[in-house]
């Protein structure tokens, strides 16, 4: 029977390859295997399984320090996992291999189907099958009008319901083919095509984008240049010259808290210029509300306190208003730790062994536990205090190895070239005097904000593709492909009005899962034959 078409997803029968078949035949076979639905399904699940370790093991792209901690915890296992790229799953060659194969398989499936559907759309619906009663749905109805009129009614009704209708008039009989729901396959193709565009947009954004992050204290600022950032990452197509000439200063930072110290609002008041020496504008930068300008986005990603110190050396020379950002240890009370490093001191003939470092523990609101220990009880700076340990000696900054700005190089202490000279708890305005007479005075604090600047030119492509994919998906799930055939045959000439009677045969076929089609078919048959149906 001609109407029963093979499912496009049905496996094609595979004949054994003749001995000595050429490489082209072999390649064709491989191509067919790769683009088959079974392979696509397997690749789909493989991709899902491959993503699992990326969510359970620490990833370098998310947190370098978590990976380092994992290495410390599992010294035997970690190097092996690393060899398998399990700490960089999403940029690993094997992960890429799976999704690239999946997309090749997808393209190999949708390109032929696009061509096929293009042909289907341009062709009229197939002609009426010989035996309508063999279709899943069929019904014969006798009507009291001549054949051409009955056919006219059927065509009009079908057209009114936006069916695509073709009428053929072989001798004495009228045959009508109608089809509906072409958008189902269109939606299907749009969905899969949009996924390919989405992947391309992702890749383009990765290659041409960049991202830098920097910690800025109140009163300070930065410019969008990669030398200034604390961390910077760029795609191979993003050069240093492509960075938008944006500069921003942090004027003030403020937080609001609910009763239970839930932070309900962070706000960084910025003054920025879009080009060097250009007009300045202000922007209240908040979480969920980045600054978007000139293709870059500036985000507020964190905040904390920087204690301020004034250091007076025995010779009277002074450093005023020194500060160093401290990292919050406790996100609720913002108790923070950090280090202020002073490699240079004023005066003649001062050597490298005379460097100073202040290691500290800052609490925005101190509570006295009575045993000389500081505890933070509130994230707001109501009663700031700092516990400090002061070191003198060589900080080892000239060794060439990069140092953590928040911590001292412990090896310098172990080697005995850096030694603790004093310690104490300071509230605002209090000071600590070192054995050599140097005075360290705690002046208070200023706040800092962690800022991130991102540029991703592929973003809009990805968004557009995602929306197109969603629309295509809806089309492919909601629209239903179905066919209706009508044959109007003059009734057997046995009655008095035989010439004006017609038997209307209707057959229906749902080409996709469609439980409501039977009811719809009945309605349609009633609509086609209703106005002219014979009263029985």
């Amino acid at each position: 029977m001609t109407v029963v078409e093979a499912l496009s997803t049905a496996p094609e029968p595979v004949a054994p390859l003749p001995r000595g078949a050429g490489p082209i035949a072999l390649a064709r076979r491989w191509w067919r295997a790769l683009t088959s639905m079974r392979t696509a399904l397997v690749l789909l699940f493989l991709l899902a399984v491959a993503a699992v370790p990326g969510s359970l093991l620490p990833q370098r792209s998310l947190s370098q320090s978590n990976v380092a901690a994992y290495f410390a915890e599992h010294p035997d296992l970690a190097p092996w996992l690393d060899r398998l790229r399990l700490f960089d799953v999403f940029s690993s060659p094997w992960f890429a291999a799976i999704y690239l194969l999946l997309f090749v398989s997808l393209l190999g499936c949708i390109l032929p189907r696009t061509r096929q559907h293009w042909r289907v759309v341009r062709q009229p619906p197939p002609s009426v099958p010989a035996r309508l009663d063999r279709l899943p749905l069929s019904q014969d109805t006798a009507v009291d009008v001549p054949t051409p009129e009955a056919a006219d009614v059927a065509v009009a009704r079908l057209r009114a319901q936006r069916w695509r209708v073709v009428r053929r008039d072989p001798a004495g009989v009228v045959e009508i083919s109608a089809e509906k729901g072409y958008l189902r396959e269109v939606g299907n193709l749009v969905f899969h095509g949009a996924l390919v565009v989405l992947l391309a947009g992702l890749a383009y954004g990765r290659l041409s984008g960049y991202e830098g992050s920097i910690l800025v204290e109140e009163g300070a600022g930065f410019c969008n240049s990669f030398q200034q950032y604390d961390t910077y990452r760029n795609g191979p197509l993003a050069g240093a010259g492509d960075l938008a000439p944006l500069c921003a200063d942090l004027d003030a930072f403020s937080t609001e808290y609910a009763d239970n110290f839930t932070p309900t609002r962070f706000r960084a008041d910025l003054t920025y210029t879009r080009e060097l020496g250009g007009p300045a504008a202000t922007y209240p930068l908040e979480v969920n509300s980045p600054l978007r300008t000139d293709g870059v986005r500036l985000y507020l990603t964190g905040h904390g306190y920087s204690p301020r110190f004034t250091i007076t050396y025995p010779d009277g020379s002074q450093f005023t208003d020194l500060s160093a950002p401290f990292l919050p240890e406790d996100p609720t009370t913002l108790a923070s730790t950090g280090t202020l490093k002073l490699p240079d001191r004023p005066g003649e003939g001062v050597g490298e062994d005379d460097q100073l470092a202040v290691e500290g523990f800052f609490v925005p609101t101190a509570a006295d536990l009575g045993d000389n220990r500081l505890v933070s009880v509130d994230p707001r700076p109501l009663n700031p205090a700092v516990a400090i340990v002061v070191y003198q000696g060589s900080l080892g900054l000239d060794s060439g190895a990069p140092q953590n700005v928040f911590r001292l190089d412990q090896t310098q202490i172990e080697r005995g070239v850096l030694a603790e000279v004093a310690s104490g708890n300071l509230f605002t305005g209090q000071s600590l005097t070192l054995p050599d007479g140097t005075e360290i005075r705690f002046e208070g604090y200023r706040q800092w904000a962690a800022l991130q600047l991102s540029h991703d030119p592929g973003q809009l492509v990805v968004l557009g593709a995602a929306v197109a994919a969603l629309i295509g998906l809806l089309g492919s799930l909601v629209v239903r492909r179905r066919r209706i055939w009508v044959r109007c045959v003059p009734a057997p000439a046995d009655g008095p009005q035989a010439a004006s009677r017609t038997v209307v045969q209707v057959g229906g076929l749902a080409r996709s899962d469609n439980p409501g089609f039977a009811a719809q078919f009945q309605e349609l048959v009633d609509a086609i034959t209703g106005p002219v149906a014979r009263e029985d």
Binding site: L7, T9, A10, P11, M37, R38, A40, L41, L44, F45, L47, A48, A51, V52, G54, S55, L56, Q59, S61, L62, F90, L202, E211, A258, D259, N260, T262, P263, T264, R265, F266, E286, V287, N288, S289, P290, R297, Y299, T301, Q452, S454, D456, Q459, V462, L463, A466, V467, A469, L470, L473, L474, L477, D513, P515
Partner: protein, 323 residues
């Protein structure tokens, strides 16, 4: 904006009440199921599969009457419990002055509500399947009790990162899709039972005892398969929309639209599995049992994403409110 403690307390009361009412409904459904051996349930399944393999199916009329009554108790309990849950969530939202789905407790409760509503839709479109409420409500009550015992969090205001209208859109889409997929998963499991039972009838492959006990009173396997599919077909675009909305929100909150945060990764895994289900259902050799297993695998991935990723794996989506 402080939390209104009185309303929050009423919300908790309504939550407990919903569990009680659902439990009553379970008793009703179970009763209908038990008496249904000779009543409506048996006739329904017999009508779909031909004569039952065991003797007479017509029981004494008073027993049928009893089964119908108990079934109505089940249905009424389901609807009343859903209203209680709706009340509980609404009160919480008003008490905290925000959308009532900002922590795991509220999310689980809302998902259970959607699952119940999805089942009420199934009942509406196929009233003969009423007695299946038993298999939906038992896991729903389990989820609610677990949420109340292990995930309970006081009504509290939102942290800054969650203060966005995307919370309403993204999380609502997550709740609706996950709730509907929950009910779909239940139907897929029932499909597997019924399928095995039907195979035992036609082939020389006797089904295990539990399946023989359960199978006769379940509807036809094709009915279960189709309902399960329709729920996925409804939920999958919403899940897709949820991922897109999440990406848009992440772009403005975290500085990138996709960053392989564990929660994001698992959303993709779940999406891939259900995409696999939809393809499998249209592929020769994967239809039926295999597709139903994929459906269950999808719901397992959702559960893993909810419990393990939120509670064990640290990520940006750590909004459980649990300490």
């Amino acid at each position: 904006m402080a939390v209104n403690d009185t309303l929050a307390a009423w919300s908790d009361t309504a939550f407990t009440a919903s569990i009680v009412v659902y439990s009553v409904a379970i008793v009703g459904y179970a009763g209908e199921y038990a008496f249904g051996r000779q009543g409506r349930v048996a006739r329904t399944s017999a009508a779909q599969t031909g004569p039952a393999p065991v003797g007479t199916i017509e029981g004494p009329p008073n027993r049928q009457h009893m089964a119908t009554r108990l079934g109505r108790v089940g249905l009424a309990g389901t609807a009343l419990g859903a209203l209680m849950q709706l009340l509980s969530l609404t009160l919480r939202g008003v008490a905290a002055g925000r959308a009532p789905w900002a922590n795991m407790f509220e999310f689980a409760s809302a998902v259970a509500l959607v699952a119940v509503v999805a089942f009420l839709w199934v009942q509406y479109s196929a009233p003969k399947l009423r007695h299946l409420g038993l298999f939906v409500l038992v896991p729903v009550v389990f989820v609610l009790v677990y949420a109340g015992l292990e995930l309970y969090t006081e009504a509290a205001p939102l942290i800054a990162a969650l203060r966005s209208y995307w919370l309403v859109i993204h999380v609502a889409a997550a709740i609706i899709s996950v709730g509907v997929l929950f009910t779909s998963g239940v139907l897929a499991a029932l499909y597997l039972v019924r399928q095995r039972y039907e195979r035992g009838l036609i082939e020389d492959a006797p089904a295990p005892k539990a399946i023989v006990a359960l199978g006769p009173r379940l509807p036809d396997a094709t009915v279960l398969d189709r309902l399960s599919y329709r729920l996925v077909a409804f939920a999958f675009p919403i899940f897709t929309f949820m991922v897109i909305a999440g990406a848009i929100w992440a772009e403005s909150a975290w500085g990138r639209f996709w960053g392989w945060d564990p929660k994001e990764t698992w959303a993709l895994i779940v999406w891939l599995v259900y995409a696999g289900y939809l393809h499998a259902r249209a592929t020769a050799g994967w239809k039926g049992t295999k597709a139903a297993r994929i459906n269950l695998l999808g719901f397992f991935a959702i559960t893993f994403n909810f419990l393990v990723i939120n509670l064990v794996v640290a990520g940006l989506h750590s909004y459980s409110g649990l300490t």
